[in-house]
Symmetry: C2
Subunit: 325 residues, 2 copies
Amino acid sequence: MKIALDAMGSEEAPLPEIRGAIEALKREPELSIVLLGIREALEPFKKNIDSNNRLEFMEVSQVVKMDEAPSDVLKTKTSSSMAKGMQLLKEGAVDGFVSAGNTGAVMAFSLFLLGRIKGVQRPALATLFPTPYGQTAVLDVGVNVEPKPLHLKNYAVMGNVMMQGIFHINNPRVGLLNVGHEEGKGTQMIQEAYNLIKNTNLNFIGNMEGTDIFKNKADVIITDGFTGNVMLKAVEGMGAVVLSMMRDMGKKYRFRGWVSKKVFKDFLVGLNYEKSGGGILLGVQGPVIISHGHSTARAIKNAVRLAAFAAREKVVEALKEEFSE
Amino acid sequence: MKIALDAMGSEEAPLPEIRGAIEALKREPELSIVLLGIREALEPFKKNIDSNNRLEFMEVSQVVKMDEAPSDVLKTKTSSSMAKGMQLLKEGAVDGFVSAGNTGAVMAFSLFLLGRIKGVQRPALATLFPTPYGQTAVLDVGVNVEPKPLHLKNYAVMGNVMMQGIFHINNPRVGLLNVGHEEGKGTQMIQEAYNLIKNTNLNFIGNMEGTDIFKNKADVIITDGFTGNVMLKAVEGMGAVVLSMMRDMGKKYRFRGWVSKKVFKDFLVGLNYEKSGGGILLGVQGPVIISHGHSTARAIKNAVRLAAFAAREKVVEALKEEFSE
């Protein structure tokens, strides 16, 4: 199992990527990683890393920046770590690709180099959302901010395949994020999506409100990329506030160290995005993981492991089969 | 100061309303309340309540249900607690109206009986969002799920007036909720709203991401009613999870009672929707507060106090003045 990792993606690149890669290799004995970056970024680390041949460095000459337009980078950044990593995946030299860089650019290179799975109108970014009851898939969380109803039907089918394929959940419950539970709520687009999803053979539980996300009502939550992105980041922002309040209170009330640590660990497992590592880009012809711009080494480690997991569980193959029917 | 309170609004009505009214009267010596409800609901409480003439019961013959269409109730529910309470406000018999009932119906009666403030195209529901740094206004959180760009400009102006008028914040910072910070991000509607707000003389700080909500970047956060509603409820749902985790951990690690209590109090102040009580319907000709369907007595108490506060601070008058210019 070999994963390509864009070493130039995150805001603090390449440090979280290099540390994350080393951590991932420690945890996965069967894994090897290709780190793609420019010479200046990789050189200082090369000599200090004992990689047992499982960590390979690949030099590239360009970096995609966060504020570059996806349509531009397709033409101007063909020698970037992002383009080259995606190319390795296309050629079958690696089994998955991970980047914490510009989401739109990763999406553009995925579509241009790998292509869509036949039958999928629009890919979606799916995040595994930690709840007290287990993992819930939320899609789309940001690659398509203005989807059509048919796209949301695609997302429902893809989310169903993913939760069945990766997490072996039998007949996953699919919910549609909305402003109320009753049929007929929401925008015109959401109402049409509701009717399309209702007419599939999925286990559709209907509309869900924001509060329901944490109530173990669904295994797959469908939303447009705008709402999904804002909601996910709001919850993350709140998680950060909660952690910092906990920390302050720990000091204030002099919790003993082990209690405080245990409390933090419980919270981190429940609330922190680092745990999931990133989102899976569903609907393109290869396992692509898009991580947060402000990913830590821990987030990158988990993103790489998620890519390996998705490749091992053959999510792309399962999607191809589903949409070929 | 007199506030009309719909006693038939919440899911557990009339109990939270009656208890909330009593609590509000205890806290506000200058306040009186008119409780509107059907006889069967109010009768059991009448004899047990010592109201010092500050709590008045008004019998009505109808109740608006949660799933009724707003367009229908305007015709069929003219003798409901909601219609009668709004009528009292229109006639000047009370200074504000509070309901935890059907949001669409409250909006419909507000528009039909009170009318819009001249110059406001669409009213918005504004919630005061607790952050570790103070109150932030978020609007719209659900009365208009498919607004036009001009409506969002209205919201920005109204949010500015409210934070200046109620909270005496000088030159409030106004942010637009979006999927990224850069100009040009988001849907067509959001991009157009961005340009409209940018060309006002408001203190516009540009786009905000979901994570920024808790970072004290803005005093007023502008969003469409769909995104605002989902985001707000997701954060509330998470707050509930956090509280329940805290409670479990308190038991598990045998926190001493006072620590646990202090911790809860700190959290509740920071995270719980009960604190704000409800949203202010901005843009109609009178102070109308819409509370959660699952309001507790504490939430109702704070909603009534918010109505009194909005009336005292003359928010409606300030909005009229702003839009008349």
